[in-house]
């Protein structure tokens, strides 16, 4: 009722998350070998796929907020730090040269390829479906637990920091003022946070036992991820193509 067993929607939205991960990883690995021109294929393709999945807004937001600033900084630094060949532009001791430009394109493209792959995965794959797919393949449920819990517990821990900060302020521990004072506030806030986090480890382990996490036998779930032969075939084909491309590029049969 609150989580559809198989999500409605198009092929992309219903796809097996493991297949999606496999495909994206293959693209990423190929991208690292092929070089900057790969972006001309990879970037538009991922934008289209994410749009089909209905997550375009989030994807673009991530690109703008996270990738763009870093990529720009990287590009500028690469451009100015490496000198060689024709000088395109200079001011005082800063020169933008042909070598700098080539380097900037090369490395920034690499960064963008990695970032694109990561954001595509974030926008295409739902964590709960991914872990369920793993479980259906036989991965130990404790491992999948760890993956999911890692993400969901982070906001709770951040809330605790605010609570503990207040609690220690209420004892007269200053958290504003100069650097020395602020450094001295580090232990009284970090220590209760860590200690209570560690005691919560024990209590949560007990809770998980109480819910049968260590029960032997197969786990069922309201989530079912379809796992057909078609999916397996796609994965195998993707890996083969990926490998083939790498060999072709390394052996110089293909120089994009």
């Amino acid at each position: 009722m609150y989580e559809p067993i198989t999500p409605a929607g198009n092929a992309v939205q219903r796809a097996n998350p493991l297949v999606v991960v496999c495909l994206v990883l293959c693209c990423l690995i190929d991208g690292l070998f092929i070089g900057s021109k790969y972006l001309l294929f990879f970037f538009p393709t991922s934008v289209v796929v994410v749009a089909v999945a209905g997550n375009l807004k989030r994807y673009l937001a991530l690109l703008a907020a996270v990738m763009l600033p870093t990529a720009t900084l990287m590009f500028v630094l690469q451009l100015l730090a490496n000198e060689g060949g024709v000088t395109y532009w200079h001011w005082w001791i800063i020169r933008a040269t042909e070598l700098g430009f080539d380097n900037a394109i090369h490395y920034t493209a690499r960064f963008v390829v990695i970032g694109t792959a990561v954001f595509t995965l974030i926008c295409l794959v739902k964590l709960s479906r991914f872990t369920r797919a793993l479980e259906q393949c036989g991965v130990n449920p404790r491992v999948t637990y760890v993956l999911q819990a890692t993400v969901l517990i982070i906001p709770q821990m951040k809330k605790r920091v605010a609570v503990i900060l207040d609690a220690q302020r209420a004892r007269g521990i200053e958290t504003d003022a100069n650097l020395r004072v602020r450094m001295k506030a580090l232990l009284p806030v970090a220590a209760p946070l860590i200690l209570s986090a560690l005691t919560s480890v024990e209590e949560r382990a007990v809770s998980l036992e109480a819910r049968g996490t260590t029960l032997p036998g197969k786990r069922t779930s309201l989530l079912q991820v379809n796992n057909s032969t078609f999916d397996k075939v796609i994965c195998i084909v993707a890996v083969l193509i990926c490998g083939g491309v790498i060999i072709a590029v390394q052996a110089n049969w293909w120089m994009p």
């Binding site: 999911q148 969901l152 302020r169 007269g172 200053e174 009284p188 200690l195 109480a210 819910r211 049968g212």
Partner: protein, 580 residues
């Protein structure tokens, strides 16, 4: 075949030099409700964990004796395998959430998935459980965003849905307000009616007396009393083992001391009322209810007629507070306290009590209005500066504790304040003595039970010797010794002229220890009166959804509110009426 059969059980934790349990023998029949009572540290939780198999598998340590659950010897089973037979719920709502469920629905399904229940059956059971626990409206919410009380209901539901025949529940209501406490007991009662065996550890003796078929008492790891609730609570040794009695028994005892003798021991206020009626008292009818005051009811001045008039120490002047996201938490609240006053603030969760307290010690800043201490506005002081005037004991001691020993913890803040070594030592020794921690001063606070750690933070605050002290839920999870200790601390602070604000859900504690009570509901103060009037304000109590302490609950059956909270007045009125 018994549901639980324990023979000769003894257990010691690793690194311990005293056994936690000694020679326990216990049989529990299927479908029976057994409550386990005892002072904190007596071994109740350890016993609960033995039944669930967490001891010794999880905790390590030496266990001897035999434990059979549904006929199976626990020594032959893994912890996981016991899941099918025994459900386990404990005090802390937050750590009972798995952390992998983004909705309450998923949280409830998790355990069933582990048990390999087919999806169709999972849906059926979860839907039914949401219905019976009245959680349907919360089904799509993230469990971590719920209140503590709601989380605890979810935790209980997530275990109940697994339909284990035996339920072991360890202090489920210690952190909850009265309304949620009643809801939890209703759920347990329903589970019990459905045929499940219930083993419950609790400090709320009224409910223990009401629901249990059998009560066992632990003391220092031994089983010292066993029987029906009546047998155990009327045993003269009961209190000496550190266990509080149901309040009606205290009322009965006080009435006897003043010449009102009743034939039977009253385990509930209703029973007390019945016996008095049998003796010849005339119960009041609904029609003779006196006219109610209009809400809000504010007249703290009536309290102060016996005190010399001193200027206000704390002035909260028409304060409104809203969070950055626009949600209003306090609306036009005003409150004045004189030096040396001790006031209780009561109200349900979400009424604004803690927010108000945090406005006093400047952890929060008023959106409008002003907070003044000794005439000066707190607006210019940082929270840490205000802390020199207002001490605050947080609800969760683990938010503050981090030192290796109790002594080091209590010493920490005074030392940081730059006081002389001699002065720090004097204050620490005094604070430890007042909180009864002198003998534990070298222990690591995390080796002490949570209820005792609470006293470590209380001691830390006392050592700061501030003019004002705020206690946030000090009574949660406390046993008889802890409650007595709190009473001593409150009296001592009053004697030292400290101004004390106590936020609490324990109405019994409020009615017996505070002469002035402030009731908050829905972001406002709706009553600020002498305590002897507070619990007769029907409108106020209804709006704030508060429980009544036993004394007013008793007197309202026979008298109007002129009795207040005076036992002498009650006893003479009863004697008078019976004499006629």
């Amino acid at each position: 075949m018994n549901a639980i059969e324990i023979t000769g059980l003894s257990f010691s934790y690793p690194l311990a030099n005293r056994p936690a349990l000694q020679e326990i023998n216990l049989s529990v029949k299927p479908g029976e409700w057994v409550s386990v009572v005892g002072a904190n540290g007596a071994g109740k939780s350890t016993l609960a964990q033995v039944i669930r198999g967490l001891v010794p598998h999880f905790s390590k340590g030496d266990l001897s004796g035999r434990v059979l659950v549904n006929g199976r010897d626990l020594a032959t089973l893994s912890v996981g395998e016991i899941t099918a037979d025994v459900g386990y719920v404990f005090q802390n709502p937050f750590t009972q959430l798995t952390g992998v469920a983004t909705t309450v629905y998923a949280e409830l399904s998790y355990g069933l998935g582990n048990m390999g229940v087919p999806p169709v059956e999972i849906r059926r059971r979860v839907d039914a459980m949401l219905e019976s626990t009245k959680l349907t409206k919360l089904a799509a919410r993230n469990p971590f965003e719920l209140s503590g009380g709601q989380q605890q209901r979810v935790a209980l539901a997530a275990i109940l849905v697994m339909e284990q025949p035996i339920l072991v529940i360890d202090e489920p209501t210690s952190q909850l307000d009265p309304e949620t406490t009643n809801a939890m007991f209703e759920l347990l009662a329903a589970a019990h009616s459905a045929g499940r065996t219930v083993v419950l550890i609790e400090h709320k003796m009224e409910q223990v007396a009401q629901f249990s078929e059998r009560v066992i008492m632990l003391h220092d790891g031994r089983l010292v009393l066993e029987g029906t609730p009546e047998q155990v609570f009327t045993d003269p040794q009961c209190e000496s083992y550190g266990v509080r009695l149901p309040e009606s028994l205290y009322l009965q005892r006080a009435l006897e001391q003043r010449g009102v003798l009743l034939p039977d021991k009253a385990l509930s206020v209703n029973n007390l009322v019945m016996q008095l009626v049998k003796l010849g008292m005339h119960p009041r009818t609904a029609k003779s209810e006196p006219a109610q005051d209009d809400v809000p009811v504010i007249h703290p001045e009536r309290f102060s007629t016996t005190q010399p008039v001193t200027p206000a120490l704390l002035e909260i002047d028409r304060v409104t507070f809203s969070y950055p996201n626009g949600v209003e938490a306090i609306h036009e609240v005003s409150l004045n306290l004189r030096a040396g006053e001790s006031v209780a603030i009561i109200g349900q969760n979400g009424a604004g009590k803690t927010t108000l307290a945090k406005l006093v010690n400047a952890l929060l800043r008023p959106s409008s209005g002003e907070v003044r201490i000794n005439g000066q506005s707190t607006a210019k002081w940082t929270a840490a500066e205000t802390a020199r005037r207002v001490g605050y004991v947080f609800q969760n001691p683990d938010d503050q504790i981090f030192n290796k020993s109790v002594y080091a913890e209590v010493e920490y803040a005074p030392k940081r304040w730059g006081l002389s070594e001699a002065e720090v030592r004097r204050r620490v020794v005094d604070a430890l003595h007042l909180t009864g921690l002198t003998g534990s001063q070298n222990l690591n606070p995390y080796d002490l039970p949570l209820s005792v750690r609470k006293f470590v933070t209380i001691a830390s605050t006392i050592a700061l010797d501030t003019d004002m002290v705020i206690f946030d839920e000090p009574t949660a999870g406390q046993d008889l010794r802890g409650l007595n200790r709190l009473i001593t601390i409150l009296r001592e602070l009053a004697a030292r002229g400290k101004t004390v604000i106590t936020i609490t859900h324990d109405m019994e504690f409020v009615s017996q220890n505070f002469s002035r009570t402030v009731v908050m509901t829905d972001r406002q103060i709706i009553a600020d009166t002498p305590t002897e009037e507070t619990f007769y304000l029907n409108e106020v109590l209804a709006k704030a959804m508060l429980d009544q302490p036993a004394f007013p609950e008793l007197t309202r059956n026979f008298f109007s509110n002129d009795i207040g909270l005076s036992m002498n007045a009650l006893a003479s009125a009863v004697v008078e009426q019976l004499g006629r």
